[in-house]
Amino acid sequence: MENKFIIVVVVALFIIALMQLMKVYDLAAKIRGEKSEEKVTRGENIFNANMLIVFMLTYFGFIIWLIFKYGMNGGLFDAASVHGQEIDSLLLFNWWVILPVFFLTNGVLFVFSWKYYYRQERKALYFPHDNRLELIWTIVPAVALSAIVIYGLKTWNDIMFNDQEGAKVVEVYGFQFGWWTRYSGDDNVLGKADYKLITASNPLGVITSENIQNSYNYLDGEVEKINLLLSESKNDEGEYFLSANNVDSLIGRMERFKRQKYRIKSAIDRGDQNDSVYKSANDDVLVQELHLIKDQPYAMKFRSKDVIHCPWVPHLRMQINAVPGMETSFNFTPTTTTQEMRAKPEVIEHYRVINEIHNERLKKLGEKEEKVEFNYLLMCNKICGAAHSNMKMDVVIETAEEFNSWIAEKQTYAQKASE
């Protein structure tokens, strides 16, 4: 901490010293009568022109160093999904078009500024326009961009309009601050859900006759609690000793619970037919990690309980917002299991480095060492509040056998209800 403070102080002192120096320099120059603030001297022109070249070389060098150190995908490895590989090759194509243009245009800008620094004896070329040149640099970018647009849109359409047969339906549900995963079971249909049914025991609001009953009980209980509180908050004359605001908000809440119950009753509850209407929920399984089968197409569905979240799995190049009040979807096929990933030489090497850095940090904090292994992760990529930066869920990609034995141990909604 002190070190950093010292750095800051040193930088500040450096700047102050610089200013003082300049003042001295200014004064000296003024006394010699050779400068004004309106004329840049020949020396200064040359100095800044040369600095432009030095800067350009440093700037380019910095970028090339970063590319060598961190690679073009910053340690994400080749995409572990079919569409992700398409995105990666599109990205690479774009870089091949873009990077030469970047170095060339920046280079020409700096080199010209350096080469044509001001010399009193020279006169600039009077060259106000040239239709041919302007046509060239309208058409050339247009052609290059056409290639980028066509390739890009083809990839986009491939990814987005990709309704593969036999895709398994899985739902990911975001809330402040975490995720739920719901598997659709053997029927491959997710049971209907409604936010009005959400309670602690039914975090997604999945509709089953049992959940409807639970919601009634919960809402009745809440109404009763508020009623009790209100009646206890009256003195003998029947006046509340709570503040008027408090009373209003309690009554408001109570009314809201009553409305909610009415809305469930009128729009969701089908009485005796509940079990047949909402039967697709029976084989659904609710967990808090995401297991996927290698080479199995998925039709993922996303919803949110409260604010906009954004499920983001960098290694799969999969991202889409989870928006309250609507369902979004993303179809993809994972191609590499977690174990296969861990066995790749580049992953082993990368995680060796990660482990070094990670444990060095833990040591500094006085915490126990731990081994970091490669894991797919689903994280939140849309600002959602205080714990936004810690909203993650493990993703496991495995073989069908591994998946089946894992899911067999989980309870379906029907199994939970019959307990």
Binding site: E38, A124, F127, I383
Partner: protein, 588 residues
């Protein structure tokens, strides 16, 4: 509002001269000073949250002493406050520095001076626009001082996060202040914008046709049109948000459950908000960029002693950029679950913008080619601005591609991209403008050498901060994370984040050079001569001291475009616009 030449003899009180002034030059200075103060706050906030990102495990007692013990107990920044700082940094820099500050200062200063008018079309509206801007700035700054903190939902304040205090503390009073401040700000921009448009269309002096206008004026003109067309949409967007927050409507809300149970709201959609917001939000990018491009055009031509290359192409590309900016907003929303077909359309329109942008860049470079480049601070900043426009624009091609956006959206790649192309380009151009027109603003000269040092610190630190962010983004690191240490997969970036924070700290501290130079020179700088840069445009024909009505006697008459630099057959390497053509001289 034509003033007679003798107007300046009237004695003015301190209040009418410096505070409730209707003189465009003084109003320009008021905007500039307000923007510099807001800019100081904005970049200081970024330095504070960069401390957390660079050294996630360290405690900084400095933070507690600046922000208070609610925001940084024991010197450890609170995660809600982190988001608050990020939000206010974005809001202040985008709206108060680069919109209000940049166009406010230079449109006010330069429009009447460069078109040959005595003042703005309406001095009174101009004054009102500034004071509304001042009020909104104060409201926004004030939101930093309330207990629950400022707005915390990111500068885009997406609902439902920004609607309920239950979701984050900043969505209470802080968010209310944010909305009020923005409503006042929008009123200010509208009034200002209408004034600029009317002035440019009606008050040009004799001979000043539209194709003899300096490119700065064209830039301000198109900017004002964009603002007038898009800001009202933001206002309606903000009003609906206000209704959702306070009056129980559900424009943006549907099917939401909080800790107090399910809300009544049903039928609304946050996506509607995003559409309305970005319908302003994208033109806003060009409201920021176009004045910057106008300033660099003017400075590069003047200080290369060479006409701007392709004057008409420059105007055409600005018009094209202005038009296209209205049909690209969806590229901010590829990942929202918007219809993928629309995503394709927006990809196409967005990539179209690259064409006029490329034309502009090549024209700048050709202007410098075989020029005679004088390395004043303004010129250096303009070269830097073109460089950042290239460096940041080029990564825009990647982000415009909806398919690539799947792996780049909301990562640090985006942060690096827009800070370079919009933030740095505009702020460097704003500095260029201040250094270049300081003699017109204060009648004094700024210290050239300090300006040069300021430039080198700024460009090195700017690139040092934002170029590495592209690599963080390629590694999948999401933006707006309070800390990345919950994800060991990002641990190899720990040292890169330290590097970024060091550059950021030095870069912010280096701005002290500018503050010092600005304040020192405005009081003690050497007196400027009438036309220190040997420029052609009309503002350099006005007297050095500020007078009401800008010119003694008759208004100047214009005979030529403003870019007759190094014209063959002329003795000087510049020919001001009010010099008549020779008998056998062609215009250009």
């Amino acid at each position: 509002m034509a003033h007679d030449a003798h107007d300046h003899h009237h004695k003015e009180s301190f209040i009418t001269k410096y505070i409730f002034t209707q003189d465009h030059k003084m109003i320009g200075k008021q905007y500039l000073v307000t923007a510099i103060i807001m800019g100081g706050i904005g970049i200081a906030l970024s330095a504070l949250f960069r401390l957390k990102l660079g050294w996630p495990d360290d405690k900084f007692p400095l933070l507690e002493s600046i922000l208070g013990s609610d925001a940084a107990p024991d010197g450890l920044l609170d995660s809600n406050w982190y988001l608050g700082l990020v939000t206010l940094h974005g809001t202040i820099m985008v709206f108060f520095v680069l919109t209000g500050g940049l166009s406010g200062t230079f449109s006010n200063l330069l429009i009447p001076l460069q078109i040959g008018a005595r003042d703005m079309a309406s001095g009174l509206l101009n004054m009102i626009a500034y004071w509304l801007f001042f009020i909104s700035s104060s409201l926004m700054a004030a939101s930093l001082f309330i207990e629950t903190g400022p707005a915390m939902a990111g500068w885009t304040v997406y609902p439902p996060l920004s609607v309920l205090e239950e979701f984050q503390p900043g969505s209470g009073l802080g968010m209310t202040l944010w909305l009020l401040s923005m409503a006042v700000f929008i009123a200010s921009s509208l009034i200002g914008g209408i004034n600029y448009i009317v002035t440019i269309l009606n008050l040009r002096t004799k001979g000043m046709t539209m194709t003899r206008l300096p490119l700065t004026i064209w830039a301000f003109f198109i900017t004002a049109i964009l603002g007038v067309l898009s800001f009202p949409v933001l206002l309606s967007c903000a009003v609906l948000l206000l209704m959702d927050r306070g009056f129980g409507t559900s424009f943006y809300m549907s099917d939401i459950v909080t800790s107090s149970g399910a809300l009544d709201a049903t039928g609304g959609s946050p996506i509607l908000y995003e559409h309305l917001f970005w319908f302003l939000g994208h033109p806003e990018v060009y409201i920021i960029l176009l004045p910057a491009l106008g300033i660099t055009s003017e400075v590069i031509s003047t200080l290369s002693r060479k006409p701007i290359f392709g004057y008409r192409a420059m105007i055409g590309s600005m018009l094209a950029i202005g038009f296209l900016s209205f049909i690209v907003w969806g590229h901010h929303m590829f990942m929202t679950g918007m219809n993928p077909f629309l995503g394709g359309v927006f990809t196409f329109t967005t990539l179209l913008i690259a064409i006029p942008s490329a034309v502009k860049v090549f024209n700048y470079i050709t202007t410098i080619w075989k020029g005679n480049v004088i390395m004043t601070p303004a010129m250096l900043f303009s070269i830097g601005s073109v460089s950042t426009f290239i460096s940041g624009g080029i990564t825009g091609i990647i982000l415009a591609d909806s398919a690539l956006d799947i792996s780049q959206h909301d990562t640090y790649f985006v942060v690096g991209h827009f800070h370079i192309v919009m933030g740095m380009t505009a702020i460097l151009a704003m500095f260029a403008g201040v250094y270049h027109w300081f003699p017109k603003l204060y009648g004094k000269m700024m210290n050239l050498r300090m300006g040069m040092v300021h430039f080198w610190f700024t460009i090195v630190c700017g690139y040092g901060v934002f170029i590495p962010m592209h690599f963080l983004g390629e590694g999948g690191m999401p933006r707006r994370y309070y800390e990345n240490t919950n994800f060991p997969m990002f641990d190899h970036f720990l040292d890169l984040n330290v590097l970024i924070s060091i550059f950021a700290t030095i870069g912010v501290i280096a701005q002290v050079i500018f503050f010092f130079n600005f304040i020192y020179s405005s009081f003690r700088g050497p007196k400027a001569s009438q036309n220190p840069w040997n420029a052609n445009s009309l503002e350099w024909t006005t007297p050095v001291e500020h007078i009401h009505g800008n010119w003694y006697g008759e208004l100047p008459v214009v005979y030529r475009w403003p870019y007759d630099y190094s014209k063959p057959g002329k003795e000087n390497d510049f020919v001001p616009q009010n010099v008549p053509l020779d008998a056998d001289e062609e215009e250009h």
